[in-house]
Amino acid sequence: MILLDDCQVKPVIIELFGIVRQRAGVSQIEIPVEQTKQLGDLLEELVQRYPGLHDACIDGCQLQPGFVVNLGGQRFTTDPTEKIQPGDTVLVMSADAGG
């Protein structure tokens, strides 16, 4: 786990799986957010910190085709305007669940 900034607010926890984890080299990070953010903003921040995610999984503020985010273990989304609250958990993964 990596804490990006020393901050008092509740962070968003981002969990990475599979190829996304391989590209970033970490399994989980915390990003401090002071107020509601959009998913697209979080994705941009991820890519800035882990440029290896750019070609593989994230393009600017959007997920590449074939990737999806799960919010708190509940529902899936790819919408960059999805609202993310401080304290939320965001899982980033391949959308292909073929086994």
Partner: protein, 619 residues
């Protein structure tokens, strides 16, 4: 039939080469092991375009060459090896064949696919399919060398594991032969025995047992007869483009980690069945993840014949010197079924168990599911083998040995979880992890309810390959824990796409590569065959194939109450995810919507109008 009998097929002169449909030979080979005959049979007009190849064409053959009412082990029951118009083409992942028969596990139609050079050589014998009927008098090897067909005694091959059989037959016949074999499990009629070639298996549903019931240990093929392509230049260009796309981000998961990438994610989402479908996660499962395996084990990657993706990840057992000889192929399904489903997180045990399944020639999902069910029955005091316990790796390995040897409880475990439940009684059927007798793969139905529907209605039984409904659950199109009519309609689409990919035949790992699957598929088919198929026609072909399978099942005795899930999964939430709950009423409504979307009655019967519309009235 005695050994070394020779059969006689048609000579090449009798084939109408000038009228030959590009992509096909225009005929299939029927071998009757009882009568000692081999005949080349021309396809009826329209069949190839209606059913394409692979799974679809094999389904047609089950009507033409088998009787749905036959028991799977009856000599008159047919076993078909079916190729496709794309086999032998430069299209990536096209070296596949379907094995179609009645399943001895489900008593319903079964089609299993395998990827290997057997597809290419089998088609080069000059036939679009090879259908085997009857029963040899003693263990036999069927040898098909272009149009020459004969049998040889299996002799010392009987009882040998899959890899040894293949090796010895190559020494006997030559390295230019491709050989599909059954292991000891197929010979013993283990109801989930596989047919193996080059370490890959036509895995689910027990086709290996059907082959064993015919006293057929192996089929060796060699051929030099190639088909033509309608537009060779166009096909080559398309193949280059598809190959390039197949190396992109859409398939990175398969290249880099393989399907076992699912393990940690599914555990996190609590959708990975553990302890016979009692929970959706298991502590310590990180030990089985590919990221962990490759820290401590030798690892290599390989691919099927004619495949650019390369999804096969092979790991060494501890202390084994030669990964190429003794390495174990690891997929999510064998990790889940021989690991968490049995309460086990020891990687050495799971890899050894996988290796045993490969050598015996048995389906890992059904083996793991049946053993896990046995573990729960023993734990509850419903069944005697008290040594069979969740989390006990040695018990798992012993159970697999007993299945392979036909010892003690192995005889019952070899029957699958449904028949084992029938034997044990005491309402154990309520938690037997099967649908129609086929054990459920590694997707927890209560937490993935579109997949739950796919399992319930699947003609093969609980199957994640004939229904790709997990794609829907992994999207923003549905709430995976609140299935509804929208999920039903989407499940139909994934089932139709799977039917097409299994009939073309192409690997489903390519699906993320396509911009518009139907558009690209018609381009491929038309370049090969010269037909003028449209996306609309192709969509109807998919519906025809799925409906034909349902028709076979109805003739085999299907009743509406088979389209269901085990009672454990109805009403009871997952213990570690209370929101993951699927009611009987909810599933019933989804099934009704599914049936209506298909044009069937609410109960799942087939109106005459739909059979006529899909050109199935003659079957």
């Amino acid at each position: 039939m005695s050994p070394n009998d020779h059969f006689f097929g048609q000579s090449p002169d009798q084939r109408r080469i000038q009228d030959q449909q590009p992509g096909y030979h225009g005929r299939y080979l029927r071998v009757d092991l009882t009568r000692g005959t081999a005949d080349s049979i021309d396809w009826e007009t329209g069949v190839l375009r209606n059913f394409l190849g692979g799974s679809g064409l094999g389904t047609y053959l089950m009507f033409r060459e088998g009787t749905p009412e036959c028991d799977a082990f009856d000599p008159e029951s047919s076993l078909a090896f079916v190729f496709s118009p794309l086999v032998g083409s430069p299209l990536t992942t096209s070296a596949k064949f379907a094995v179609v028969s009645k399943s001895p596990l489900t008593d319903r139609i079964n089609d299993s696919l395998a990827s290997s050079a057997f597809a290419i050589s089998g088609k080069q014998t000059g036939h679009d399919a090879i259908v085997i009927r009857g029963r040899a008098q003693e263990p036999t090897v069927l040898v098909i060398d272009n149009e020459n067909v004969h049998c040889e005694p299996a002799g010392e091959l009987s009882g040998l594991p899959c890899r040894s059989v293949q090796r010895q037959l190559k020494q006997r016949l030559g390295n230019d032969w491709q050989i599909a074999v059954i292991g000891p499990a197929g010979e013993r009629l283990v109801r989930y025995a596989t047919i193996s070639h080059d370490g890959r298996h036509a895995g689910r549903g027990g086709s290996g047992a059907v082959m064993g019931s015919k006293n057929l240990k192996a089929i060796a093929v060699r051929g030099s007869t190639k088909v033509t392509w309608s537009d060779q230049d166009g096909l080559i260009q398309l193949s280059k483009d598809l190959a390039a796309r197949s190396l992109g981000p859409a398939t990175a998961k398969y290249r880099e980690l393989g399907t076992s990438e699912n393990l940690l994610l599914f555990n996190r989402l609590k959708i990975m069945p553990t302890h016979n479908f009692q929970q959706g996660s298991l502590a310590g499962v990180e030990q089985l993840a590919p990221e962990t395996l490759r820290q401590s084990r030798k690892h290599t990657r390989t691919s099927c014949a004619a495949c650019t993706i390369g999804c096969e990840h092979i790991y060494a057992l501890n202390g084994d010197p030669d990964i190429s000889e003794f390495g174990v192929r690891v997929e999510y399904e064998n990790l889940f079924a021989l690991g968490p489903l049995c309460g086990i997180n020891d990687s050495e045990v799971v890899l050894k168990a996988s290796a045993k399944c490969d050598q015996l020639g048995i389906d890992t999902i059904s083996a793991g599911g049946t053993i896990a069910f046995g573990m729960e029955c023993a734990q509850r005091g419903l069944w005697n083998p008290t040594w069979l316990r969740f989390g006990d790796g040695q018990a798992l390995l012993q159970a697999l040995d007993m299945i392979g040897n036909g010892d003690g409880v192995g005889k019952l475990l070899a029957e699958g979880s449904r028949r084992l439940a029938d034997h044990i009684g005491q309402n154990s059927i309520e938690f037997a992890p099967q649908v129609k007798g086929l054990e459920i793969p590694g997707y927890e139905p209560r937490a993935m309810q579109t997949m739950a529907l796919g399992f319930a209605v699947g003609t093969r039984g609980a199957d994640h390959n004939r229904s790709g409904a997990y794609e829907v659950d992994f999207s923003e199109q549905v709430n995976r824990r609140a299935g509804n009519a929208n999920a039903s309609a989407l499940a139909v689409k994934t089932e139709d796409q799977a039917a097409l990919m299994d009939s073309l035949i192409l690997c489903k790992f390519l699906r993320g590569v396509f911009q518009d699957f139907h558009d690209e598929a018609v381009t491929m088919i038309n370049l090969v065959t010269g037909w003028d198929i449209t996306p609309t026609e192709l969509q109807q072909t998919a519906q025809r194939i799925v409906t034909a399978k349902k028709l076979f099942n109805i003739r085999s005795g299907w009743q509406p109450d088979e389209d269901c899930l085990p009672a454990r999964m109805m009403e009871n939430a997952l213990s570690d995810d209370p929101v993951a709950r699927l009611s009987k009423e909810q599933l019933s409504q989804m099934i009704v919507h599914y049936n209506r979307t298909r044009g069937w009655t609410d109960d799942g019967w087939l109106p005459h109008e739909i059979l006529k519309e899909l050109d199935l009235s003659e079957l």
